[in-house]
Symmetry: C2
Subunit: 417 residues, 2 copies
DNA sequence: CCTAATTTGTTTACCCGACCGACGAATAGC
DNA sequence: GCTATTCGTCGGTCGGGTAAACAAATTAGG
């Protein structure tokens, strides 16, 4: 009931026949996207840039305004000759979208308005494995309610939960999240029941959502083919192909961490041998860079502080640290080469600790890529560091929900006035 | 000029605004696809199954009939009560599509009608590397002309050329085809000039087209997520995600052969070390299975005969042959595991020599997969052997061209009558 | 044999949305 | 002030999907 329509995809859903209402929805969304991506502009320019008729644009803008999604913009006097246009701009205030990240020791929430501006942000320490699924969902529902109370004037159009594990996104069941100790937890169902109707809930893998966030807002926004790699204790991946998230049949694509690319003699936490994350995970770096009793290997300390220490040592020219980073960088290149050969992306985006220590990793990584990638000039791929930090997953979650408005602006009801 | 519209994708192209003509095109295609996939049926049933209005379906069917794409089917008397429906069926005769495969020592051509039935098929020995690009294209054009003369009553809607190498599908330039000795050859331009307008030409990687063929006609037709692996001298791959071919930014996705998954000490023909095809390519199998002077390693002999000999030895219980097959099967599993972890397909399809010797390879391969794939039950993936044999690429090529008719049936002009 | 019931396919009127041409409005340049 | 230019809207047109009515073709049953 709270579940969204089958799969908001584009103008014309796969199985549903197209009628003219679909055309209208598509064109409304097209105008809205143009205003989001290119900024305020007059109706005449919108018509010119979309290829739609002037009259049609007027009608579309009027409808969007009625739904509170656009407003009149500031008039820029003194351009060229002729009657100046009345600018139309995206009005973000009417709606908002919520992203939630569930992780081992915290829950984070982020609320964006339609323009992608942050309305509310909070991060709360929470021992999720100890609490269990039900109590955690109670806690999440409480946090969401608090956020909704804070941004009272904006109607929430959707909520997306990021979970570190395997997620069947069709029904929002977390089939396996080892770090949380969860197995077959119906997160969507549980949250939908707690939050009531009116705010569709989605559940998605955290790395996938981070990839979407980078695609939507990062320095490489809207790159049609993007591979996202994030380094934490494990290694996560998200693939965006042709502007769409690659989910796979069972919704569990992008599991790069346990790909057999590492040393076949090293045993991984998952029990297998030679998993890639034994070569590029945080553990691999720390083992190579420091002795077991070194404070940077104390997992009770804050990760960002420890990473800063490692960066400082590398900057100071510490041999062992530099060697460890070089080694991880090369291993990163080996795996990334596989990805580039397979999906031929325009950008490989590094997130998590890869981004923090990126300036030491990129050079050995690209050296390895140059050896390994088939095709000239890395097959057109560039390695880029994420700038979103640790909020990528919640941002991506909120953006997924926002996107439904651009897919079909008629979801937002017309103003009663 | 002969190049098709930007990229025939679906009802609503990405950038093009939707108008009601697009709705019409989409609905025409929907009806046509239904008749292709589910067989002949009455207008009433079509209306019921597509969700379109009865009157709309009548109008759509009339237009399709006018374009020669459907005809009245055989009346099945004696069903239930009420007026019996007049069946409508796909009429394949009006149009045809051409697939051409360019390879090292042959050129193959296949012409399909709209129903996917073979109208014309030919395979011609040709020493492409010796002949050079221009003379080869002359030869191809001659072959195409011959095919068109043979199937005179069907209008060709498109032609797709399969090339073993890196292809920029946007402009049909073969940027690198080592086996042909080609580099930056404008195949599309050259063929379009030779064939004249009226028959849009596409150029695509051969493994990609084989993947499409399997997706379109194989035992696993229409599986939304499919990974295709073909073993020849090298190893090729094609990925179909969400029912669409994954091409990548530079159009050179699926280059699995030179992925660093093999023994890092073995040098590949490409000059790199540890390429996967050094472990699973035909050469790897032959080296492991037979001495250098063994007749099965005589590359001047026909490949199918040699493969049959290997199969016979394995059936006879020859230890060395069985060990070699087991070893290749395991290496196949290692690489396939990477693909499954990344893309999470429903089916991994084996083509080329993998299919011929499949019964010996599948068991060690799946054993390896069970160890390597993250997620329960191989993440939902099944290993399937191709049944298309060596015609997969031409079939896929013809199907790509056919698909444009289902995307937009108005491409086929109405009958003059 | 004839009628009622049922299902099919077409016809008619209608609605909705995009498109086109024309027109008033607002502005710069002269 | 006048003209050229551009903007936004209005009325009309066209195309396509929808709904309801209706004729046609068949089975069931007396």
């Amino acid at each position: 009931m709270t579940a969204p329509r089958p799969l908001p995809d584009g103008v014309a859903g796969r199985g549903v026949p197209a009628d003219q209402a679909a055309v209208r929805r598509g064109n409304l969304g097209r105008v809205l996207r143009l205003l989001r991506d290119e900024g305020p502009r007059s109706r005449a320019r919108i018509a010119e840039e979309t290829g739609l008729n002037k009259a049609t644009v007027s009608s579309l803008v009027a409808e969007l305004a009625d739904r509170g999604l656009v407003t009149a913009g500031d008039v820029h006097r003194g351009g060229s000759v002729g009657r100046p246009g009345l600018p139309v701009q995206l009005d973000g205030r009417a709606v908002c979208a919520i992203g939630v990240e569930l992780n081992v020791d915290f829950v984070a929430i982020l609320v964006l308005n339609l323009r992608g501006e942050v309305l509310f942000e909070q991060r709360m320490a929470l021992d999720v494995p100890a609490l269990g699924a039900e109590a955690t969902l109670d806690e999440v529902a409480r946090l969401v309610q608090q956020a909704r109370d804070t941004v009272r004037d904006a109607v929430p159009v959707g909520l997306t939960v990021a979970v570190p594990g395997l997620v069947r996104s069709v029904d929002g069941v977390v089939s396996l999240a080892p770090n949380l100790g969860w197995r077959d937890v119906p997160v969507l169902e549980g949250l939908a029941a707690r939050l009531g109707p009116g705010c569709p809930v989605r559940v998605e893998n955290d790395a996938n959502l981070s990839a979407i966030a980078e695609w939507a807002t990062g320095p490489e926004a809207r790159t049609p083919d993007l591979v996202y790699l994030t380094g934490e204790v494990g290694v996560g991946g998200g693939l965006i192909v042709d502007g769409r998230l690659l989910r796979g049949t069972a919704g569990l694509s992008g599991e790069v961490g346990h790909t057999p690319l590492g040393d076949p003699d090293v045993v991984c936490g998952c029990g297998r041998r030679g998993c890639w994350e034994t070569a590029v995970g945080l553990g691999a770096l720390l083992r190579a860079a420091a002795d077991p009793d070194d404070p940077v290997r104390d997992s009770t300390r804050d990760l960002e502080v420890r990473l800063a220490e490692i960066a400082a040592r590398a900057d100071a020219g510490d041999r062992r640290t530099l060697d460890a980073l070089r080694q991880v960088g090369r291993a990163l290149g080996t795996g990334a080469a596989v990805l580039i050969n397979l999906v031929n992306p325009a950008v490989v985006l590094l997130g998590g600790y890869f981004a923090v220590l990126g300036r030491f990793l990129v050079e050995p990584m690209t050296a390895e890529l140059q050896d390994r990638v088939f095709g000239p000039d890395l097959a057109g791929a560039r390695v880029v560091l994420s700038e979103l930090g640790f909020t990528a997953a919640v941002r991506g979650g909120a953006h997924v929900a926002l996107e439904t408005v651009f897919d079909d602006p008629t979801r937002v009801p017309p103003r009663a006035s």
